[in-house]
């Protein structure tokens, strides 16, 4: 296996959790809700996913448990912001603090334990094609799932009536309500879906990326996923590009550290975070100089239906 192939494989692995979490959040934000708690939902998915896989020996059950944990955590957020009209920024922060704490509590019993990693696809002949074989036909199931998820979200948002209604709710909740659409119910479903995606993205880390669980192992990926949604201008296709770019930055810094060029390792480790800031600045600047904001018009606003 060549170095180039190895790098591409690791880029894809590093990108997949970001892609899963960010595409879920894209749907949430398209419905007009800003859930800043991705980091908390991801780490809950990681802890519960690892615990379930450890006890059952099944990666599938682990993945389902991770998604369920993410959705369950997001249900608290939905209850607060949709049921009780709480400020979404504050509730999202609370969700992150809570998720990091509870996942540490759950995961404390599993620190140091190892599990079997998610198996990679193997199709004779196809997987053996040089260079591209392993990349196209030798990934783990999460990678294929993440791509299918983005395609599914694109199809849902732009090709179905339900997707149209969801976008309408996100762009003008008062009008959507006046037309008789159940704004809060649609948003609650979107939040739960986003939570499941974030939980799955978090579960990817201990199930397929590293074979163990470490408290706080999401290391800011939830926040980077939020930045990716902004980067994508709320369009599913661009989320893939963004996620793979960030995966590439993560891997680039690992490889440069290994080369030992005399650059402080801390500088390289800070690259993904600095890149996020720079990308946010560039994207926001381009947007303000061209067509104006592409964000859903009701994003982050509280909605309380009147009589």
């Amino acid at each position: 296996m060549g170095l180039f192939e190895a790098i591409l494989l690791s880029v894809i692995a590093a990108s997949t959790p970001l892609l899963l979490a960010a595409s879920g959040e894209l749907v949430v934000e398209r419905s007009g809700v800003l859930n800043l708690g991705i980091e908390g939902m991801m780490i809950m998915g990681a802890a519960c996913g690892f615990a379930a896989a450890y006890f059952t020996g099944s990666i599938t059950i682990g993945a389902i448990a991770g998604a369920a944990a993410g959705a369950g955590t997001s249900a608290i957020f939905a209850l607060l912001t949709l049921g009780l009209a709480v400020n979404q920024v504050a509730a999202g922060l609370a969700l992150t603090i809570f998720g990091i704490g509870l996942s540490g509590l759950i995961g404390a019993n599993f620190v140091g334990e190892r599990i079997e990693q998610a198996p990679h696809l193997y199709i004779p002949v196809l997987t053996d094609i040089p260079v591209v074989g392993k990349i196209l036909f030798g990934e783990d199931a999460f990678v294929y799932l993440s791509i299918l998820l983005v395609i599914g979200i694109w199809w849902f948002l732009y090709r179905t009536r339900a997707g149209l209604i969801l976008r309408a709710v996100g762009d003008n909740h008062a009008s959507a309500h006046a037309l008789g659409y159940p704004v809060l119910k649609i948003r609650a479903l979107a939040v739960l879906f986003g939570g499941a995606c974030a939980g799955l993205g978090g579960a990817y880390l201990p199930l397929a990326y590293t074979p163990f669980f470490v408290p706080g192992m999401t290391a800011g990926r939830g926040w980077i996923a939020l930045a990716l949604v902004v980067f994508s201008s709320w369009k599913p296709g661009r989320i893939v590009i963004g996620a793979y770019l960030f995966g590439a930055v993560t891997i680039l810094q690992l490889h440069t550290q290994a080369l030992g060029l005399g650059i402080p390792s801390q500088l390289m480790s800070s690259l993904p975070y600095l890149a996020t800031v720079i990308v946010l600045v560039l994207i926001s600047r381009v947007r303000s100089s061209t067509a104006g904001s592409t964000a859903p018009a009701s994003l982050g606003m509280v909605f309380v239906p009147d009589r």
Partner: protein
């Protein structure tokens, strides 16, 4: 039939006072259930968590030590949040303040520098924190980049900067390769208030900060602008208030306070610069700000309460083998309840019968 929210004609003054207390009561009940799940006696555990730290002078002093950074950071954050500016990177500004102040301590180490060292460190800490906070504020005002994400990303960068310095250029040559600077000289140390206790002059500074912030918010034009921009941005625009300037100003103030808290923590209770100087003060301060109702005096009380949970959590870890992460769970739950109860100041529940609901096409 279901329950829906309804906006109150005017905000409920009773609930405004009662809501933090209700939130704390609900949190305690939830904690009791959690303790029971963990197989601990809830009554004993709550006692260890919330009462034992209040029973002796040493613990009380420790609570004040922990509350000092929380209160200072939270006062700054409250100014931001009132103006609807979302600085959530106080943890990073705290660390950079600690780094900038420590720079003077490290450079004057072993020299016969005089009593100016500590004041210079405090100024450097505040300036460093403020400048670090200026980055997300500038990106927001100039380019429209979300200050929530940029300020948070810079927390990770600040951790790495601190890590680089104490492992590289500033490492104590006699420190057995531990990532830490040498102990600061006595002129570079915040004096303690009583012999044998860690309570230090920084707590007095925190009290002064609370007083100044109370005056600033309640008695000055700037405080008025901050409140109007947050509560009614359209009205503020018509009044000619410059919201961009307020983003910069609130970020600068909160960054300076976080930075000052950082250098006080390092020059006070810790005594040297090392990674892990903060058990998440910058994030816990967000909870303190909300629990204190974004009011400086309320923040003082809330800061003491959350400091109590840090000490109680450490005690419970030692005496009852309760995991330390339980403190974070507790803090998250507390913030959930505070936000939920605050909602009832503006809204009340209304019972919707299924017929009325159907007629209006709601769920």
């Amino acid at each position: 039939m279901h329950i829906a929210l309804e906006r109150r004609a005017e905000r409920s003054a009773t609930i405004a006072i009662a809501s933090p207390l209700i939130a704390i009561a609900l949190t305690l009940v939830t904690m009791a259930i959690l303790f029971a799940i963990l197989g601990k006696n809830p009554i004993t555990a709550l006692g260890v968590y919330f009462l034992e730290p209040l029973s002796d002078v040493h613990s009380l002093s420790e609570i004040a030590v922990k509350a000092t950074p929380l209160v200072m950071i939270a006062v700054g954050l409250a100014l931001c949040y009132i103006a609807n500016v979302w600085n959530i990177g106080a943890e990073g500004q705290f660390l950079i303040g600690a780094v900038c102040g420590s720079w003077i301590a490290v450079k004057t180490q072993g020299t016969d520098a005089g009593v100016w060292v500590l004041p210079a460190m405090l100024v450097a800490g505040a300036v460093g924190g403020a400048l670090y906070a200026l980055i997300p504020a500038f990106c927001k005002v100039r380019f429209g980049a979300s200050e929530i994400l940029t300020s948070l990303m810079l927390v990770y960068v600040a951790e790495l900067i601190l890590d680089y310095l104490v492992r590289g250029p500033w490492r104590d040559p006699n420190g057995f390769n531990f990532p830490t600077t040498a102990e600061f000289d006595s002129v570079a140390t915040v004096p303690t208030l009583f012999a044998d206790e860690r309570l230090h002059a920084g707590s007095v500074i925190a009290l002064i900060v609370v007083m100044i912030a109370t005056v600033l918010l309640g008695r000055t034009i700037m405080g008025f602008e901050i409140r109007v921009v947050g509560a009614a941005p359209r009205a503020a625009r018509f009044a000619g208030f410059d919201s961009d300037r307020l983003v910069i100003v609130t970020f600068l103030i909160s960054g300076a306070l976080a930075g000052l808290a950082g250098i006080i923590e390092v020059a006070g209770p810790v005594g040297h610069l090392q990674p892990g100087i903060s058990p998440g003060y910058g994030f816990t301060a967000i909870i303190v700000a909300f629990l204190g109702r974004l009011n400086p005096v309320g923040i003082l009380v809330a800061g003491l309460f959350l400091a109590l949970t840090f000490i109680g959590g450490e005690n419970a870890q030692i005496s009852m083998k309760v995991p330390l992460d339980l403190t974070k769970v507790f803090q998250g739950i507390l913030l959930f309840y505070v936000l939920a109860c605050d909602s009832l100041i503006l809204y009340r529940f209304r019972l919707v019968t299924s017929r009325a609901g159907a007629a209006h096409g709601s769920v």
